[in-house]
């Protein structure tokens, strides 16, 4: 069994989030860790998992060493079951065909809202970020898994700008805003796995990775975390998982 010294934080994120996927699911995946994790799950324990890409792809096969630079290139279409317009693949989310939306995050808050648009006041931003892409659509219409690095500046009490909605201000505010379906399911970081309280919709700790302490995770978070009564410890990535990932991404495009 490998130990923490044997893998990178990105590899840990990919492995831990791939374990959350279940066979038979339809997964709308973003580029980077989500794409790797969904492909890893498909290869090791979910042969019947279907990947959708925003470019307009249903059920492709990602080839080792030929990772696409985004979800809009021809590499995304290799051995796909169907290509369709981007609008139509996004409408599958709205129709209700998608079990899991899966993406990375730059900044998240205690209610699972994600910001990829502005740092600072949107009227006079300190930094204009690239924007939502399909992130808002995925987060509005599906149950979400988000994979991201755990840093205090990324885990804030409230995001500067809600690009992709989690539970908005908590409690029933998501549903009340016209988003009755989906919502944040899990946030996977290099420190642990996080969920959301069924009532308050605040982020809580579901599991910590081996060797990570409660203090460490709280110190890396910009708001007070809720610790569940039974916090599990995750198992290290296995040699099989790491081997598969390294074959998939030999140039460490996404797992540096």
């Amino acid at each position: 069994m490998p130990s923490a010294a044997d893998y990178t934080a990105s590899e840990l994120l990919a492995v831990m989030s791939s374990r959350l996927l279940k066979d038979g699911q339809i997964v709308f995946a973003g580029v980077g860790i989500p794409l790797l994790a969904a492909t890893l799950a498909q290869g090791l324990h979910c042969p019947g998992l279907t990947i959708l890409f925003e470019g307009g792809v249903i059920g492709p096969v990602i080839e080792p060493g030929k990772l696409p630079p985004s979800t809009n290139e021809q590499r995304c279409t290799i051995r796909a079951n169907m290509v369709l317009s981007s609008t139509d693949v996004l409408l599958l989310l709205q129709r209700g065909y998608v079990d899991v939306g899966f993406m990375g995050g730059a900044q998240i808050d205690q209610h699972g809202n994600l910001n990829s648009s502005f740092i600072g006041d949107p009227a006079h931003p300190k930094t204009r970020l690239p924007g939502t892409g399909g992130g808002n659509d995925i987060a509005s219409l599906a149950h979400m898994i988000v994979a991201m690095k755990h840093e205090k500046r990324r885990f804030v009490e409230s995001v500067d700008f809600v690009t992709s909605p989690g539970y908005l201000s908590g409690n029933t505010t998501r549903r009340d805003s016209g988003l009755p379906a989906g919502g944040m399911y899990r946030v996977v970081t290099d420190l642990g796995i996080f969920g959301f309280d069924g009532k308050t919709r605040r982020m809580n700790v579901v599991a910590l990775h081996a060797g990570v302490t409660r203090d460490q995770v709280q110190d890396s978070t910009g708001f007070e975390l809720v610790f569940n009564p039974n916090i599990e410890t995750t198992q290290h990535p296995t040699a099989a998982e790491l081997g598969f990932l390294r074959k998939l991404d030999p140039h460490r495009l996404y797992t540096a």
Partner: protein
């Protein structure tokens, strides 16, 4: 913001919609786009971007273009950095995830020189679709509750008259002109697209007119042998330009993958110095070359053929 329905119809009926030849040069096609027009750009991110056409518009010193695209990459940098575009509507704008955040986009947007209106990707798609359908809006269920919606007063929330569900109505987007690159079309503009279509079919039918660039012009007989492959009908098209490798340094499905080494060079140049670096790039690669072929020469035959080899072999799995 939304245009009158009868005006939109009148603009179509004012054009010669017969089955006639419309092959022109890149320069002649650029002259068809007027300053201040709204321009819908086909493709997405690094794929099937009508680069040659955008290159020609910049050489034609266009001003005040209002651009829109599903997802915007380095062609957006070119449009901002050259002063051709003052307003862009899109869901995402950077060169590509692997190159970080575009400093060119940041420079022009943060200084207020250019307006970047952010919509979700599905909203961009539904706006073109409404435009293509000849209706003033379409309802959808995302963007609700988010700050993306709050930034867009043009979109309206409403309660569904049948179910009471909260919905977002997004306004139709009918650009004056759509720029779309395809793998093949005939001299009349019957266009066939291989691989991902992105938002292009809705964009073509929403726009008042379409300028096609194409890897190759085929005969009308070839089109008629497989009419089910035709994705854009001739009467929507105003002009056709044959431009091999017309998406470089971006990709064209089945033709070439992105020219990654050139993209690495370009992004490192402009992200270091967004104004000076871009001016240097435009001088050398856009204003400098005598022709698009000359631009391809600057990218390098080795690099182009390598990208073409990858582009053609992608489905050899």
């Amino acid at each position: 913001m939304s245009q009158s329905y009868l005006d939109l119809r009148r603009k179509l009926s004012g054009r010669d919609r017969s089955l006639h030849e419309k092959v022109v040069t890149l320069e002649e096609a650029a002259a068809l786009v007027k300053d201040g027009e709204s321009v819908g750009i086909g493709g997405s991110t690094l794929s099937r971007t009508p680069m040659a056409m955008i290159w020609a518009l910049i050489r034609g010193r266009k001003k005040r273009l209002a651009c829109s695209r599903g997802i915007t990459s380095s062609e957006g940098d070119w449009l901002l950095g050259s002063g051709a575009c003052e307003h862009i509507q899109t869901s995402w704008f950077s060169q590509g995830i692997v190159w970080g955040i575009s400093k060119v986009m940041r420079h022009y947007v943060e200084s207020g020189k250019v307006r970047f209106d952010e919509w979700s990707h599905m909203a961009m798609g539904m706006r073109y679709r409404a435009g293509a359908m000849g209706v003033p809006f379409l309802p959808m269920r995302s963007m609700l509750g988010s700050d993306v919606m709050k930034q867009r007063p043009e979109a309206r929330e409403m309660d569904c008259p049948f179910t009471g569900d909260k919905l977002l109505l997004v306004p139709a987007l009918n650009p004056d002109v759509a720029l779309i690159h395809v793998q093949r079309c005939d001299a009349y503009g019957n266009a066939q697209i291989d691989g991902l279509q992105f938002l292009d079919i809705d964009l073509a039918m929403a726009a008042t007119r379409v300028i096609l660039t194409t890897e190759r012009i085929v005969s009308n007989d070839q089109i008629r042998r497989a009419p089910d492959q035709t994705k854009i009908p001739f009467f929507a098209v105003e002009a056709v330009v044959e431009v091999p490798f017309g998406c470089a340094p971006h990709e064209c499905s089945g033709i070439n993958e992105p020219l990654f080494k050139h993209m690495d060079y370009y992004t490192s140049l402009v992200n270091k110095e967004p104004v000076k670096g871009m001016a240097e790039y435009l001088d050398r690669y856009v204003y400098g070359p005598k022709s698009w072929t000359d631009y391809l020469n600057l990218l390098g035959l080795d690099h182009l053929l390598e990208a073409a080899r990858h582009g053609r072999s992608v489905s050899n799995a």
